[in-house]
């Protein structure tokens, strides 16, 4: 690893640890810092322990995992599509995953109470699988389109596909609810607060597997930055690489959709910051930077959402949009990177 990658990674890690401690300490109930840390290790006041270990810690870990998954997913998608505005949210993969879950829930609702009970019993794995199906279909569709469309057109098509899938999801869940089998509410907003201590492994295991695979695909994906023919001439089996990168993206993204909903903008903007910090588009150094950067951004958004506001919580995607959308606008207007990809 080049020195600047190591330094930046360490700086991001320190910031992430600091923010984690902040998020565990402050909220609707402010705890003394020492007590929050003590209750992490099972000592101290019982009430404080419950708040920290059972409410805040799962939420914080979910934010860190989901942010890392989306950040690294963005790096993979941008390399795979050779498109600087590609990410799971912007190309409609997250909405596709939601639609997959909605279809499954609706099917269960119409199939009868036994199916609903089954789905509820295996809630974690079954909704993740349903989301994975939706994400895979959306990704395959976008890959097929990506060969024909320019970078910006693909972005617009992806956003429209996302709206379509979200509309369908909403309508489906309306009927599923009427049929009396509403298992999961439709997430029109993203949140890390829905993750329980017992569902956390369902999020963590696929995401960690995805991160390992991402590291393994880094070298051939860097060659793919030169284009398909050059990658092939460098010994990369492009078809196999595409499938592996797609599988990795699904592993990273599907559990996020299933447990946290459509978290916007993180995957789109974090890879750009990572490239800025690394000073290079080589994929391997980008993975730690994008994972830590994504985690930091997700946790920061979550910290703002759960700050002790007088009235109710803010919406996570509102915060991410305020940060993310201007970055995307700047990219579209000023990025020299986009010129070649137009």
């Amino acid at each position: 690893m080049p020195a600047r990658v190591t330094t930046s990674s360490l700086a991001l890690l320190v910031a992430l640890i600091g923010l984690t401690l902040y998020a565990l300490t402050y909220g609707q109930v402010a705890l003394p810092f020492g007590q929050a840390v003590a209750s992490l290790f099972g000592s101290g006041d019982e009430m404080a322990g419950q708040i920290v270990r059972e409410i805040r810690l799962p939420r914080v870990l979910a934010a860190v995992l989901a942010g890392a998954a989306l950040g690294v997913g963005g790096v993979l998608m941008q390399a795979l599509f050779r498109n600087p505005v590609a990410d799971a949210w912007s190309l409609g993969l997250l909405a596709g995953g939601q639609l997959g879950v909605a279809l499954t829930v609706t099917a269960a609702a119409f199939a009868g109470p036994a199916a609903v009970a089954f789905l509820t019993l295996f809630a974690g794995p079954s909704i993740t699988l349903a989301a994975a199906g939706g994400v895979t279909l959306a990704a395959a569709a976008m890959l097929a389109l990506g060969r024909r469309l320019s970078a910006i057109t693909l972005l617009v098509v992806g956003l429209m596909l996302g709206f379509t899938a979200q509309g369908l999801t909403s309508v489906l869940l309306h009927f599923a609810a009427r049929a009396g089998g509403r298992v999961y509410g439709g997430w029109s907003d993203a949140s890390f607060a829905g993750v329980q201590p017992e569902t956390l492994p369902g999020l963590a295991v696929p995401v960690l597997a995805g991160l390992v695979l991402a590291v393994a695909t880094a070298k051939p994906l860097t060659s793919l930055l030169l284009g398909e023919s050059y990658a092939q001439s460098l010994g990369v089996q492009v078809g196999a690489l595409r499938r592996l990168a797609l599988l990795t993206t699904v592993l990273l993204v599907a559990p996020v959709v299933a447990f946290c909903g459509p978290v916007s903008f993180i995957g789109l903007i974090v890879p750009h910051f990572a490239r800025g910090l690394a000073g290079s588009a080589r994929i391997l150094p980008l993975i730690p930077l994008a994972a830590l950067g994504g985690a930091l951004l997700a946790l920061a958004g979550d910290a703002i959402v759960h700050a002790p506001w007088e009235q109710h919580f803010l919406h996570l995607n509102a915060i991410l949009a305020i940060v993310g959308a201007p970055v995307v606008i700047l990219l579209l207007v000023f990025s020299p990177a986009l010129k070649g990809w137009r």
Binding site: A216, T222, L225, S229, L234, G235, R275, G279, S280
Partner: protein
């Protein structure tokens, strides 16, 4: 030694092969120019030889090894390509692009050894691209990028280099410089260099050997002066407006 053995190239489902039943042998260290009109099949032939697309029939072997049957990772150590397409690669530095040429020789991380770095630096020098080191690839002009891509191919330390119409964006001195550096590299490193070009004048002056595609599925091979004196250049390129004059070695308008 590059051997084409009854090679037919083209696209499956096409009515007939772009180029049919070609057999030839080219020894190491040769600088070969591939000439032919647009659509004669230069790119198809070169992509097939480089293993980027399958042959319709026949085989291509390099030093006795069948290139199509070779593992892609191993083929990448033998054959390097430079293509017409101009990749836009945001945030990739010239050094990164050139060191990608060492990827077939590195482990899963792609970490470069000191020897790999030396080879990459040497390749940049050979391609006349050393002064671009440390700059972003996307900030270079078309001609400069082409030199970096040549350096990347040299860094791959191949036995066969396949370069498809890479001199199009260069002015005349630039083209002469690139073609002479490739010829020098062929001689010094014992590499076979295949270059397709629309630069007839330069190609006929610089090539050790010319592969001339006649546009009707045939290929003539020989030293440039021989093809010229046999009138083959003329029959491949002449139109009602322009004709090749063999004893002057150039095209003239039929006024």
């Amino acid at each position: 030694m590059l051997t084409l053995d009854s090679l037919s190239v083209g696209y499956r489902g096409g009515r007939k092969p772009v180029l049919g039943d070609v057999s030839l042998r080219t020894p190491a260290g040769r600088f070969v120019c591939i000439l032919g009109r647009n659509g004669a099949g230069k790119s198809t032939l070169m992509r097939t030889i480089a293993g980027l697309q399958p042959a319709l029939a026949g085989k291509v072997s390099l030093d006795g090894e069948d290139l199509a049957a070779m593992r892609p990772g191993l083929r990448a150590r033998r054959v390097a390509v430079v293509l017409t397409e101009r990749p836009a690669i945001p945030a990739l530095k010239v050094d990164d692009v050139v060191s990608l040429g060492r990827q077939p020789f590195t482990g899963w991380e792609g970490r470069l050894s000191a020897a790999d770095r030396d080879i990459a630096a040497e390749a940049l020098h050979r391609a006349g691209a050393a002064r671009f080191m440390g700059r972003y690839f996307d900030h270079l002009s078309d001609g400069e990028r082409q030199r970096v891509m040549i350096a990347r191919a040299i860094a791959q330390t191949p036995r066969l280099m396949v370069l498809d119409e890479i001199t199009g964006f260069l002015d005349l001195p630039g083209r002469v410089e690139v073609m002479t550096l490739l010829r020098r590299h062929a001689r010094e490193a014992g590499v076979i260099v295949l270059l397709s070009s629309h630069d007839l004048d330069l190609s006929l002056q610089l090539a050790d050997e010319v592969w001339l595609l006649d546009g009707h599925g045939g290929l003539n091979v020989g030293p440039p002066h021989q093809l010229a004196s046999e009138g083959l250049i003329g029959s491949a390129f002449d139109t009602p407006d322009v004709a090749f004059v063999a004893d002057r070695g150039r095209f003239e308008l039929r006024a």
